[in-house]
Symmetry: C7
Subunit: 97 residues, 7 copies
């Protein structure tokens, strides 16, 4: 039942990162530390087409941790997991440690 989704055009499939409400040593984190709306990119489309029909490749790669907009995105359930589809131009940025 677990299906694999290949996004079309410049869509990217994101698995949202749910911030831990406790640290690994068991300390409860205050609520505001969960504010960053981020996710891990699990699949990337081939890119949108420009006005001459040529592909504009997506600059985001599978595995990137991305900052997501507060609104938008389409929820998709694949197997047991919830994912979200976004257009690459709606992704705000990539996050790095």
């Amino acid at each position: 039942m677990a299906k694999r989704l290949v996004p079309l055009l410049n869509r990217i499939l994101v698995e949202k990162i749910v911030p831990p409400s406790k640290t690994s040593s068991g300390i409860l984190l205050p609520e505001k530390s969960s504010k960053l709306n981020s996710g891990k990119v699990v699949a990337v489309g081939a890119g949108a087409r420009d006005r001459d029909g040529k592909l504009i490749p997506v600059t985001i790669k599978e595995g990137d941790i991305v900052l997501l907009p507060d609104y938008g995105g389409t929820e998709v359930k694949l197997g047991d997991k919830d994912y979200h589809l976004y257009r690459d131009e709606d992704i705000l940025g990539t996050l790095h440690e």
Copy 2:
């Protein structure tokens, strides 16, 4: 009475996949397993035209299983069956086992 429809421009004709409410061995499936709005592509247009009048071919092929948007699409009844027409840019992705 069963007519064949050749979609125009970048329209594609989709037969929606109705998820089984029982498995083949007769076990009732919980409702949330039916959530994926998908369909099988049965006909594909020749493509939209770019601003110079050239065809931009549709990347979706007949037989593809596609993830459909929750809204949009035009219902079409051909013979006894219900189909839906979508613009290729509105199809979210292709589904693979």
Copy 3:
């Protein structure tokens, strides 16, 4: 009084097909068989112009049976008959037996 209309740009003139409510042998057809909104193309414009002023020819031909959108189209009465004008990009597809 019967006038001939030559549509301008990418407009096409369609005579709607009224589905028979009885078969030729006199059997009444159930209502849902009349659902397909189709028509016969009786005249086709020379095509829209692209951004450089060049003609983009209409891919629909006189005599085509077309699937019409549920909304839109301009009613035109020529002589005793009712016709509808559509832009070619609004025609959903062509129908074939």
Copy 4:
């Protein structure tokens, strides 16, 4: 006081055709015969400019009998007569006997 108007860009000046309510032999015509909203083209602009500033000539000519849209057009009174200005792309088609 009768002025001549040279329309600008792709505007065309139309004198609407008021359908006779009686035939020449005096027979009253039923109302529905007056339904066609048509007019005679009395002046034509030099054409709109494309995105490079080049003229796109108007394909409608002075003297053409045209089918007019039900809405739109700007009323202009020149001397004693009422005319209407339309953009050429809004004219539905040309009418021929």
Copy 5:
């Protein structure tokens, strides 16, 4: 205090023609003769720029008598006189005796 205005882009400066309410010999004119919304062009901009930054010259010249749209235009007071600024594409046509 009387300033000279050089319109920018494709703007043109128009002095509206107020139709006489009496003829020169003193006869009062009926109201409907004042219906034509026209003006004399007193200054013309260098033209709008196309998408490559090139100038598209204005086809209307200083001194032209123009037919104005019923709405739009920006009122400008220069010295004692009222003028109106319009974009050249909003001017309906030029008037000639």
Copy 6:
């Protein structure tokens, strides 16, 4: 604390001209002489970019006296003074004595 602002793209920075309510010899001016919404250009951006990324230079120069639209513009306080930012395409014209 007085900062210098370099406007970006096709923005221009304008210091509005407040019309004197008295002449230099002390005569009070009637209210309608203050109607012209004008300003002096104090800084000009490098220009907007066309669709190929090339700069379209701004035709308005520092020191120009410009006619401003009645609406729009962004108020900016630099040091003690109030300025307004406009896009160059929104400036109606240049004023000359």
Copy 7:
């Protein structure tokens, strides 16, 4: 937990400048001196793509002090600090002492 954000396309990340309510020698500043909505650019995207898919580089650089629009921008919390993301075309100008 402090993450680094690389903005995508023509987005820039700004740390807003909170005006001091006291001078360094302890004098309270009047409220209106805090009116300038400015910030320091801490990260810049690679640029938007034009219609042919080519990058249009962002003209704003890391370290620039910029004048921000009163509305818009997306709040982002990275570690303990609040930042704002803007599109480069929405930045009003750069500020210099």
